[in-house]
Symmetry: none
C-alpha cells in the first residue's frame, strides 16, 4: 500500500465560506499530520452544496493519497457530506446498524430518546466504514477510492479532535525513509522580535533544523523541525539535531521558556507549585475570574489552587480582600494602583491561608482610561508567605488597548510573574512592563 506522504484538508460549511465563522480545523489537522511527517498540500473550504463538496472530493481523491474532510455530518438538510461522498464514490447510501445503535446510545446516556431526524447520521456509502464519535451524534466515515483514503469527521473541534486521535491516526500509513523530528517550545515574557534577535542565525532558512516563531497573544512559540533523507542529514538523526537546537534555543531564552508541546502556562505553573507544596489564591478585578478559569482548565488543579475572589467592585475589594477604604477615597491612589494591587494580594493571601496570592487590577476599557492611567494599564501583585511575614511585589504593565487582549495578557503575565518568582528570578523584566 502506498504511504500517506501528502494530504489535503476539505472543510464544508456556508458559515465558513461566507466568513461568518473561522475554520480552525484545517490548521489543527495539518499540524497533526506534519508532526508525523505527512505534508498537507491544500486546504479548501466549500459551501453546504452537494455538487461543490462532491466535485472537490473527486478532484482531491485523484490528486493526493489522503483526504481529511470536516463538517457537513450533522442531522439537518444542510449537512451534505455523507451524500457527496456517496456520489464521489458512485455508491448508494445505506443505514449502518452499528451507527444507529451508537447514536441511540448517545441519547440514552442522556435520558432522551433519539429524535427521528438523527437517524440520517447513521447513513454511510456502501463501501465506507463508520468511525465512532463518543462526544456527539455525528459518526465519522472512512472510505477508500483508488489509492486515496478519505476520512470525514464532524466539524466541532471538540468532537473532531478526539476522533482524529482514535480513528484517523491508527489508520495512517506514515512515510518511511524520510525521517522527521519536531519540537515546540513556548516562551512568556519576551517579544517575538527580542526572541528573533536572541536566536539570530538559528532562524536562517539554510540550517538543517528550521526554527520559526509564532506569537499568539502573550505567548511566543518556537517551532523546530528537521526533515530529510539520510544523505541530506549527513547520517545524523533528525531527533538529535532537533534536540541540540532546542537546547540552544532554551539556553538563549532562559528562563522564559515555560513549557513544551501541549503543556500550557497554567499547567507549568501548577507543576512548579506542586513541586514546592505551595498553594495559590487569586484576587481578580478587571480579569473578572479569567485567571481562576485558566488555572482550573488544568485537570487536578485543586492540588495547588484553592480559589479566590472576583472583586469587581470597590466595595467587594474592601469587603472580601480587606483593601483599606482610604485607597478609594478622594485623593487616594484608587483601584488601579500599586497600593490597591498589593492590598488585594496580601488580603487574599491571609484570608485564603495560601502560600502565594496573585492580584490583578487594571483598566480593560474601552471606557475608563485617563491620561495618567490609559486603557491597558494593569497592576499585578504577588504576595508570598515569608519565614516571618508575607512579602509582596507589584509591577505595572501597559498592554495593547483592546479589552480581550488586555485581560488575556494580564492573566498570562500574572502567571509569568509567579513563575519567575518561584524560580528565584523575580529580578527579570517581563514584556510590556512599565518603569
Amino acid at each position: 500500500m502506498n504511504a500517506h506522504e501528502r494530504a489535503a484538508v476539505l472543510s464544508a460549511g456556508d458559515e465558513l465560506t461566507l466568513g461568518q465563522a473561522l475554520d480552525t480545523n484545517s490548521r489543527w489537522i495539518s499540524d497533526q499530520l506534519l508532526s508525523r511527517g505527512i505534508i498537507t498540500v491544500e486546504h479548501i473550504t466549500v459551501p453546504d452544496d452537494l455538487a461543490a463538496i462532491g466535485q472537490t472530493l473527486t478532484r482531491l481523491m485523484n490528486a493526493v493519497p489522503l483526504v481529511i474532510c470536516t463538517g457537513g455530518l450533522g442531522p439537518t438538510q444542510d449537512d451534505l457530506t455523507r451524500q457527496a461522498l456517496a456520489e464521489a464514490l458512485a455508491e448508494p447510501l445505506l443505514e449502518d446498524e452499528q451507527a444507529v445503535q451508537q447514536i441511540e446510545a448517545f441519547f440514552a446516556a442522556r435520558g432522551r430518546p433519539m429524535p427521528s431526524i438523527n437517524r440520517i447520521q447513521a447513513l454511510r456509502p456502501r463501501s465506507a466504514g463508520v468511525l465512532p464519535n463518543p462526544l456527539g451524534t455525528a459518526p465519522g466515515l472512512h472510505a477508500r477510492a483508488g489509492r486515496c483514503d478519505i476520512f470525514c469527521l464532524p466539524g466541532p473541534p471538540r468532537e473532531m479532535q478526539p476522533m482524529f486521535a482514535t480513528s484517523v491516526l491508527p489508520r495512517l500509513r506514515l512515510p518511511s525513509g524520510r525521517a522527521l523530528a519536531t519540537r515546540t517550545l513556548h516562551a512568556q515574557g519576551l517579544s517575538e522580535s527580542e526572541i528573533a534577535m536572541r536566536l539570530g542565525e538559528l532562524m536562517g532558512r539554510a540550517g538543517r533544523v528550521l526554527v520559526g516563531t509564532t506569537a499568539s497573544g502573550a505567548i511566543v512559540s518556537c517551532r523546530l523541525r528537521c526533515q530529510g533523507s539520510a544523505e541530506e542529514l549527513a547520517g545524523r538523526e533528525p531527533q538529535q539535531l532537533v534536540d541540540d537546537a532546542a537546547a540552544e534555543v532554551q539556553r538563549r531564552l532562559d528562563p522564559y521558556i515555560f513549557a513544551e508541546g501541549e503543556q500550557s502556562l497554567p499547567a507549568a505553573v501548577r507543576e512548579l507549585l506542586i513541586q514546592r507544596s505551595h498553594t495559590l489564591a487569586v484576587v481578580e478585578s478587571c480579569t473578572g475570574g479569567m485567571l481562576g478559569s485558566m488555572l482550573t482548565e488544568v485537570p487536578g488543579s485543586s492540588a495547588a489552587f484553592v480559589g479566590g475572589w472576583i472583586t469587581y467592585s470597590n466595595q467587594s475589594k474592601q469587603r472580601d480582600a480587606g483593601v483599606p477604604a482610604a485607597i478609594f477615597a478622594t485623593g487616594g491612589p484608587g483601584a488601579v494602583s500599586r497600593q490597591c494591587a498589593q492590598a488585594m494580594a496580601l488580603g487574599g493571601l491571609q484570608r485564603a491561608s495560601a502560600h502565594q496570592c496573585l492580584a490583578i487590577t487594571g483598566i480593560a476599557g474601552p471606557e475608563g482610561g485617563t491620561s495618567d492611567k490609559p486603557v491597558g494599564t494593569v497592576w499585578i501583585a504577588l504576595a508570598s508567605q515569608g519565614p516571618q511575614q508575607p512579602t509582596v511585589q507589584a509591577r505595572r504593565f501597559l498592554f495593547v488597548p483592546d479589552r480581550a487582549n488586555i485581560r488575556d495578557w494580564a492573566c498570562k503575565t500574572a502567571l509569568g510573574m509567579l513563575r519567575l518568582s518561584l524560580l528565584g528570578r523575580a529580578d527579570l523584566p517581563l514584556l510590556a512592563e512599565q518603569p
Copy 2:
C-alpha cells in the same frame, strides 16, 4: 461589465498549509464581501509553490468573476504570487517604475536605503496594475483575465486590510438587481436536532430564505440568508423576506433565542439585568471563575455584575459562601448536590447584597466521577431576592464528559437559567437537564 456576484479567496503560504499558522484573511475578506452582497464560494490555501498557485489561479479565473489572493508578495525566494499570476495570464513580468519609487520611499521614510532584494517586489505582469501599500514593502496587484478580476494582496492582516479598503472595495462591481439580506439568531437551551425539528420546512434548501444552523458548544446559531433577482423573489424585498422568516424562527424557538448578530449571551443577560436594575453575583466551584470571566468580557459589565467567589475548595465554600459544614460531613450530600448549590447561591446573594446570584458546583473530571455522580454532573442554583425573603431554584445537568466542554456548558447554561428566570419562564427545561 459583469457584476462580481461570486468570489473565491486564495491564500498562499507553506506555514498555512503545514498548519504552523492560522489563515484569518479568508474569513475576513469573505465577511467584507458578504456584507456587500458578494457570495464567496471557495477558500483555498496552497503552499509557496509556483505550479500550485498558478494552476489554482487559472482554475478560479474560469470559475468566478472575482478572485482575491493573499500572501506570496514578499521579497524572498519563497514569494511566488507575482510569477504565478504572470504565468496564469501568459504574460511577462515587467518592473513598474512607480512601484520602485513607492518601495524606495517606504525605506527612505525609515531612514534606510532599499535593500536590492526588495526590487523584485516592483515586478508586475504586463497588463496588471499596481496597488499601493502604505504600511509595507509589498505592493498589491490587480489584473483582469477574461471576465474575472484578480486582486493580489500581501498576507499580513495589518497591511492587507487597509489595502482591501482603499484599493479593492472601490473596484468592486456590486451585484445590482440581486439584493441580499442576512440575519443570524442565537439560541441557548435547545439541541440542534430539536431546533431542526421545530424549524422543519423552513430549513429546506428550496425556500427563498435559506435557514441553516451551526452548533458551537452550548449555543446554536440560526443563519438566515435571502438572495435573488427581482423575478426570483417575485418582487419582494430580501430584507422583508428575511425579517419574516426571522420572526417565524423566533416564534418557533421562543423564548430560547437570546440574541442576534454579534451580541453574546453574557451581553444579552447584562441587558436584561440592567432593564430590571438588578445586580448579579456568582459563586463558582468547578468553573473556577469562568462564569465571572464571561460576564466581564462585556464592556460596561460592572453596571450589573458585582463580583463573586471562586470557592474551589470545600473550605472556601464554607468560609466565603457560608455553606454549612454538615453538607461535607460523612453521610452528607457533598459538594456536588442540590443542597450545596443552593447554599452557595443563597450565601453569595446575601454576602454580595445582590438581586441575583448564580452558583455552580460539579464534576469537571477527568477524575472524581462516581456511578451516582459521573463526570459531567453539574448542579446550578439561582438565588433571587424576593419581596419577603430570597428564593432559590437548583437544576441538575449532565454534560458531555470533557473538562473544557463541561465548564463551558455549565457557564452558558447558568446564564440561560438566569435568562429564563428573568423572563418569568423558569418552568421551561434546558438542554442536558436531568430529572
